[in-house]
């Protein structure tokens, strides 16, 4: 037997947006979202509700009465599109929060995206996997490993049942699984998953892409923790090489002197090289990875050349992110190590 609050219309059960318990308060902006308490409302607002509040109204209010078949169809189409957009929006929000390290805030967004995805694609669709992955990653970040495993296994199961699943998704899934096992301390299994990640990523992007570098980096961390320094060292070197190369490419395009007009007439710049920009996630990853490796290198006796290379890569990164203060700091450091170790033939 359940108790229904008197204020609610009979037969309608209002549940909390986050925990699915009976709800007692309502969002005053949209009036279609309910919470069990202020705490949950606050979490949701910070996580995702702020962005999607107004968008939820048409989805949750009753359909207006439409007379013609055509209108109803149009309405349906429009709703579907709206939901798709919401999935996209909530996912990017979640992803961004994850990269900023706000794992707890990412959860509502991910849950929201999962809800819409199930609504649109059904339960067993491959389209659910990205949401599961965000949830899994957030759970790992929060240290709730059991929950993370649950989500990731769900994703794994879906991927297994979908043979035509793309390598990019697989790679992401295996990377998260690897991180999960690493957090659990099961290093062998983690290595196996990360190996799978690198394999799929290499299939999709090539072995020396920055998107594959993440796999190498996590693997290096595990070897580092296993105290197999030689392997970890070679992997870190590889990661730095990949990032260094990529960043050099970006800098090269950006600092290219534009063509100067010779004589009268317009300049025909035939080959405007498309600069492959780092997106938000990649920027965050680059900062994290490079700093982490730098930290390790500075605390272990290592090749001065390696150190210089990392510093150079970091300087380039800060340059491309336009964080001038950090850039000058790094450049100064680079200059110091340059002086100290007397590395020759280094072009700055």
């Amino acid at each position: 037997m359940s108790i229904n609050p008197l204020s609610n219309p009979k037969g309608v059960k209002l549940l909390c947006e986050l925990c699915q318990k009976p709800a007692f308060i309502q969002c005053t902006e949209c009036r279609v979202t309910y919470y069990c308490g202020v705490e949950h409302q606050k979490t949701d607002w910070l996580g995702v509700h702020e962005k999607i509040c107004q968008l939820l109204i048409p989805l949750r209010t009753q359909l207006p009465f439409l007379t013609s078949e055509e209108e109803r169809d149009n309405r349906k189409q429009w709703l579907l599109q709206q939901k798709m957009d919401l999935i996209e929006l909530t996912r990017t929000t979640g992803q961004k929060l994850l990269f900023e390290g706000k794992h707890d805030q990412a959860v509502p967004a991910a849950l929201q995206s999962l809800k819409f995805a199930i609504d649109v694609f059904g339960l067993a669709s491959i389209n659910l996997v990205p949401s599961y992955l965000i949830l899994g990653e957030a759970s790992i970040g929060l240290g709730r490993l059991e929950q993370a495993e649950e989500y990731l296994m769900q994703a794994n199961w879906t991927v297994l049942k979908t043979p035509e699943c793309s390598n990019a998704i697989k790679s992401k899934l295996y990377r998260n699984l690897g991180l999960l096992y690493a957090a659990k301390g099961d290093y062998d299994e983690a290595l196996r998953q990360l190996a799978d990640d690198i394999y799929h990523s290499a299939q999709e992007f090539g072995t020396d892409d920055i998107r594959t570098a993440g796999g190498y980096y996590h693997m290096a961390n595990i070897f580092f923790r296993k105290n197999e320094m030689a392997v970890a060292d070679s992997l870190y070197t590889r990661v730095i090489d990949i990032w260094h190369k990529h960043l050099s490419g970006i800098i090269k395009v950006r600092t290219k002197t534009p063509l100067v007009a010779r004589g009268p007439g317009p300049v025909f710049d035939d080959e405007i090289e498309e600069e492959d920009k780092l997106d938000e996630a990649q920027e965050a990853e680059a900062v994290q990875v490079l700093n982490a490796v730098l930290d390790i290198r500075e605390h272990t006796p290592s090749d001065s050349w390696e150190l210089v290379k990392i510093l150079h890569a970091l300087a380039m990164l800060h340059f491309s992110l336009k964080t001038l203060q950090l850039e000058t700091n790094t450049a100064r450091k680079l200059w110091k190590s340059h002086q100290k170790k007397k590395v020759k033939n280094w072009k700055q």
């Binding site: 909390c16 199961w157 290595l191 693997m219 392997v231 060292d233």
Partner: protein
Amino acid sequence: MADTIMKYCKMATMLPQIRTPNSGRSQASKKGLMPTPPRTGSAKSRPETGLSAKSIKLKNANRKEQEIILRRERLREEQPLLSKAQTAAYRNTFKHNLCLDMLQAGFHRAFSELHMLMTKQRAAREAAGPDSVLWNEPLLENEQEKLESMKFYLMEAEEALRNGDLKLVYKNRFSLAQFFQGRGDKWLSDHFFQTCLDVSSQEENAEERLCEALCFVGLAMEENGELFDAIERFEDYYQLSQGQTGWRTESGKEFHTDACDHLTRLYTAVAATRLRMIKRRLEWTTCSRLTTLLKKLLISLSCGDESQSGDATYKLALAYVKMEDAKTALLYLKMYLEICEASKDDAGIGRACEAMAKAFDLEGKTEESLKCLVRFVEVAEKSGQELALARACQNLGYIYNSRGDYSEASKYFSKAFSLSQSKDSRKAAESSSVHYGISHALGLMKGVKKHLTMTGKVPMTRIINWKNQRQDEFKKSISLEEVSLERELKESEPVNSIAEPTELPSSDES
């Protein structure tokens, strides 16, 4: 039937699991609502079924189905339990597992190399299209044995690289290259030889290995037809191995001699193509390139045996003759002659004399060139080389011809003709018969001209006679005529000389 039902059962048990994670984190900790971790893979290959799932199935099914399920359970229990890695190995392709094994152990470079090779092969195949030979060749990823050996050696090599032991890296890559060479996989062995070269060039104090790698890369390039690149490699090899007597190949040959041999072969091959080019159209630049090449060849031969270097000298001289630089040509020819005389090589002496004659001819010293040719004939006669003799006779014929000594010329030409005919060499016989005809005609021209200019009855009748009975009349007429002609000249005055001579030369010429 039972199978499909079971599937649906499983689906049904699966469905609520998905709800639970969404329905809130606070509930998820409750054990009852927790989804069992999904079993990976198909239902059949999974021996490990949870107890709860079993009981649910048994409850839902009727008796017949229960029996089937129970029997299946029994059968499964007989199978050993598989670990996650094992199931993955069962599910994935061979290549996938191999890569995973490598990566798991941290051999990322080995993996990258393997991946690169496989994509390269695929790309080459796609580019070549389905009609090509490449299309029918098996893909690398399907050849387990090759992949296994590559994995083994590459992992060893990477291990060695981590420890900074470049020698071991080289060794492993080298054995891999040799493995593929033995299999006839040229592109793979080429790749690994090239990496051997890269490794050994990074290594310090490893000239010996560098030499070896250079040699193999050079050979591979030669086989691919990249002769000039190959020559570059071998020249490096030559430079490096100079003065190192201790370095020997497997067969006990010194590296330096080995380099010389390879260089000689390549230089000769290139020289041959150059010569062919020159024959087609004489180009000074190709000629000069040829001479530099041949000079190099001579250097490379310095450690080889005499006869070969003599040969090269001869070729070099010939090239100079072609370039019309007689002095240098003569210098080399004299060297060659000395070599031949020392080794009592009659054919060689003959060739030298012949070429010298040509060179002298270029300089305009006909006397000298005659002398050489006479010597050539002598040598050829002595050694009984009939073809060479025929050539000598022909050359002598040319010279006499050019000096206007037509009777001598035709004598030699006829000799050449008979010699080459007896040797059954048709081409030579044909050319000498033509030349014989030319010199003969040239010899006749003098007499005919004289007769034509002298009008009168006697010369006219002689010409007519000669026209009627070609050869005989001509021979006689020359000796007899001189006297009578002069007599005629004094007496008769030209009367009707215009009509007849115009008729005659035209018939003569035709």
